[in-house]
């Protein structure tokens, strides 16, 4: 459940989840695997790095049952993600898209500032 005080805008959405920005609380909300989680800006990018660092090849090659899943517990959230290979890929796609849109927004904002100051 997203915080009722949140004033959020959609950053990026796939069929598996979405990322929203709350401009009132300056945070990102991740809607994935049936749950919503708030991340501060830094925590969000650190979480993305952790997901990107998951070794999918090792998960595929390792025949043990425990290797089929990986557990990710982001700091400062109550969430615990238990991800299989599909889950990791879906989450990566979502976070990659969100990161791209966040950076694009930043570049556009910078360009608009330059344009408005130059005008």
């Amino acid at each position: 459940m997203v915080c009722p005080l949140a004033n959020f805008e959609e950053v990026f959405k796939t069929e598996h989840g979405a990322v929203y920005q709350c401009s009132r609380q300056n945070c990102y909300w991740l809607d994935f695997a049936g749950a919503t989680t708030a991340f501060k800006v830094n925590d969000f990018f650190n979480f993305k790095k952790r997901i990107d660092a998951i070794d999918l090849s090792a998960m595929i090659i390792d025949p043990s049952r425990t290797a089929d899943f990986t557990i990710v517990m982001p700091f400062r959230t109550p969430r615990c993600y238990v991800l299989d290979i599909n889950g990791v890929l879906n989450l990566r796609e979502l976070l990659d898209g969100a990161k791209f849109m966040i950076e694009l927004n930043s570049v556009v904002s910078a360009c608009l500032q330059v344009t408005s100051h130059g005008a």
Binding site: V11, Q21, N42, A110
Partner: protein, 174 residues
């Protein structure tokens, strides 16, 4: 949409990563100089031991300067893990050859950072890096001058004792 990214940090992700790599390199250099100091002390080169101890402290200051800059600009400085520090060296001369090689490598890395800053139009970091580039002129000069002393004084007889005695006098006047 509000730009949360720039509210948090003014550092580009690539710049932050390359500065963190440089923090690690400075920490590594500091540890290597400390190892050199211990080796020189063990071999009886007292002045060189003090010289390398001071060099180690200087490298740590460089590391902290970079570390604080990353944090001050809203980035996340990473405390580096340092491994593979040598405990033994081939000879008195080889210690200074390694010093020069290390300093040349550090200069090269700062050149790469400066190049990256220009490409990404991060002129604030580019300006910050200038201090390190100037510092590298001194570091390389001192290492080269000391190595030249090995040829000028010679290592035979009391040569190494004489070289050790002269090492604190090597200064870059700029």
């Amino acid at each position: 949409m509000k730009d949360l990214l720039r509210l948090k940090t003014s550092l580009n992700e690539e710049i932050e990563a390359i500065l963190n790599a440089q923090i690690k390199m400075e920490a590594h250099a500091s540890s290597v100089y400390l190892a050199m100091s211990a080796w020189c002390d063990d071999q009886g080169y007292d002045a060189s031991a003090t010289f390398f101890s001071e060099q180690s402290e200087e490298e740590r200051k460089h590391m902290m300067k970079l570390f604080n800059y990353v944090n001050d600009r809203g980035g996340k400085a990473i405390s580096p893990e340092i491994t593979n520090i040598p405990a033994d060296f081939e000879s008195f001369r080889s210690v200074f050859e390694e010093m020069l090689e290390q300093e040349m490598h550090v200069t090269q890395q700062f050149n790469i950072i400066a190049d990256k800053c220009i490409k990404l139009k991060d002129f604030v970091t580019f300006q910050f890096i200038q201090w390190f580039l100037e510092e590298q002129i001194e570091e390389e000069y001192v290492a080269r001058r000391i190595l030249e002393m090995f040829d000028v004084i010679g290592e035979e007889g009391m040569g190494r004792w004489e070289i050790d005695k002269h090492i604190p006098k090597v200064k870059y006047e700029g």
